[in-house]
């Protein structure tokens, strides 16, 4: 962390450091999680080469069992991605000199909108999962 004396471990120490530090640390933590997921995504998609039957049965096992715990991880991943995107937009605006005086308010507004969009996305994605549950 820039000019910091607590290092990466210090990112997890949010107490008494304010919302700005929380935003700063979570942006980096969420970024690392997303990069790790990106390579997991590459790995899963590589199974396309094994053919339709194998790939579909793999995705079905992640979605409808026995490994449907991955749905919980997907929901957590959505949280991380929507958080990171909303905070990223705020940072871009701040870098352009916009909203600097109200950066805390902007953080809450952008994150609130992102969480609403995330809930909408999860709702519609869930409907799709339910529609395929009986297949």
């Amino acid at each position: 962390m820039p000019g910091g004396n607590t290092g990466i471990i210090g990112w997890f120490n949010f107490l008494h450091k304010g919302i700005g530090f929380f935003a700063y640390a979570m942006h980096r933590i969420s970024g690392i999680v997303i990069v790790l997921y990106l390579y997991l995504h590459f790995f899963v998609l590589s199974n396309l080469l094994r053919g339709g039957v194998t790939f579909n049965s793999l995705i079905t096992s992640f979605t409808y069992g026995p490994y449907d715990i991955f749905i919980v991880m997907d929901i957590l991943l959505s949280l991380v991605i929507f958080y990171h995107g909303a905070n990223g937009i705020r940072l871009m605006l701040n870098e352009a000199g916009l909203g600097l005086k109200h950066h805390k308010l902007l953080f809450f507004v952008f994150e609130s909108v992102a969480m609403i969009l995330m809930l909408l996305f999860l709702y519609y994605a869930w409907q799709v999962l339910l529609s395929g549950a009986g297949v």
């Binding site: 820039p2 000019g3 304010g18 700005g20 700063y24 997303i34 990069v35 979605t63 799709v128 395929g132």
Partner: protein
Amino acid sequence: MMSNMNMKSEGTINKKARSMGSIQWLFQAATGAFIIFFLGVHLYVAHINGGSPVELFDTVVGNLSNPWWLAFFLVFLWIVTYHGLNGLKGIIYETGISTRGRKGVSWAIMGVYIVSIIYGTVLSLVVAQMTIP
């Protein structure tokens, strides 16, 4: 701790303390803006309008066999991988490593990026040629 010297505002790192150069930061912001659009489309196509997960193979192969979707996903792949790895490089720089260490990290990240996009591109092109059973 972040001090006023390091932070233009809370959550925004000033230019002196920034782990990336100005050009890299600009690329990071620009690719971030693109990703918001690309990811929005990707989430809609893959999770809302993509049909049942039980038949996902057909959906993916069907999409990638369309040259426009193939181009879309290839550009998405190149941009999102750049954004992710460049961000990771910035985080590593923030740990305060030496100039020599930074050069090593920079080369390593560049190598990982090249390997990743070659692998992803070849995978996409091969899948685009597959047939739906």
